[in-house]
Symmetry: C2
Subunit: 207 residues, 2 copies
């Protein structure tokens, strides 16, 4: 894993990876920096600069070797490092994320869902079972869960986070529109979907 | 609307806004920069600096006036400017986004969903109807839609985008893990959920 990459480079590398996955699917063996740049509507020189960070991985006579470049990005971004997660909130968004098979590509395993609605307990989605939220401390230990994905309704967000942090989870990926009050050692990624979209409407040329 | 704000400031302002919405709900009238900073685990001076961009909006003796600061952020980020959108792909994620009432706060109206599955046509979610994708050109015109939210499965992404762009839509918010091939005048926001999470696992102190 390459330490010290900026957020913007990491974002672009994962987008290049998306393109490479698609090229592998299609059986295409080589790709050029202008091809990548044109798909992302960014500058060709930016793509070459980013790939230089990977020690010019996959360079060949006609651009880059798709398989090698893909592997280098996976190594640089630590895709092989397993990240064990669960979803708190088995609603539409929780189910959508549980079904999102692309997470596995990134070493990201969703092992269970939790909810407090009796009608949802024991449902299964994409091979992942819904448990009552009271089972969290026990399953956290048994399944070695370390990341919470929070998709509960706004009004349950703060109390659910309290349960999550007292069960020993340190990483929370927050999809609710709430800013959560947590102990200082808890790391939170506020997904802030609308915020990102507002940025886009103000400045649509960002990648 | 304040032009030229960086992505990072816009992101933080929308997070401050989330906090202020919560304080309004709770009937709290004033908030201090250390309170905001502590909730977001960022530096107090950063919060003050951001608010200075809003011409020190809402400053009062005991911090900021919640209602005034909230209004200033809404003005700076153009929340009153209506953005008319539709969802292409009436699956779990499409339904989750259609139910996300918080969008309206930002002037963001989702007016319809589209799908090609006959079983989904005429379903309703949160007052929004699912139409067959073939109705898009007609409804684009009648409802004055200008933003597409793409939540179709990976394999349908490229063909759906072709339909969307030929119907005259210029803004696409792409939730699929595909990098889409589009004409140069189309603006795409690649949501890239996993990319953002990878950034978080590498550098958990970002906001």
């Amino acid at each position: 894993m390459i330490v010290g990459l900026s957020s913007k480079i990491i974002n672009r590398l994962t987008l290049y990876h998306n393109i490479l996955v698609d090229y592998v699917d299609k059986g295409v063996e080589n790709i050029s920096s202008p091809q990548i740049a044109s798909l992302l509507k960014i500058d060709d020189s930016q793509v070459r600069k980013d790939i230089k960070f990977l020690n010019n991985a996959g360079v060949c006579k006609i651009g880059y070797c798709v398989a090698d470049l893909k592997k280098s990005i996976e190594k640089a971004l630590g895709f092989k490092k397993k990240k064990k997660a669960f979803i708190a909130g088995a609603g539409n968004l929780g189910f959508a994320l549980a079904k999102y098979t692309n997470f596995a590509v990134y070493g990201f395993e969703i092992l269970a869902l939790f909810d407090n609605d009796p009608l949802k307990i024991d449902l299964s989605v994409n091979g992942k079972k819904v448990f009552h939220i009271s089972k969290l401390p026990e399953l956290k230990k048994n399944l070695k869960l370390d990341i919470a994905i929070l998709t509960v309704p706004r009004k349950f967000a703060q109390e659910t986070v309290k349960l999550i942090t007292t069960s020993g989870i340190k990483y929370i990926w927050n999809f609710t529109p709430c800013v959560l009050d947590t102990p200082s050692d808890i790391k939170i990624l506020n997904e802030n979907l609308v915020g990102k979209f507002i940025q886009f409407t103000i400045n649509p040329n960002m990648v």
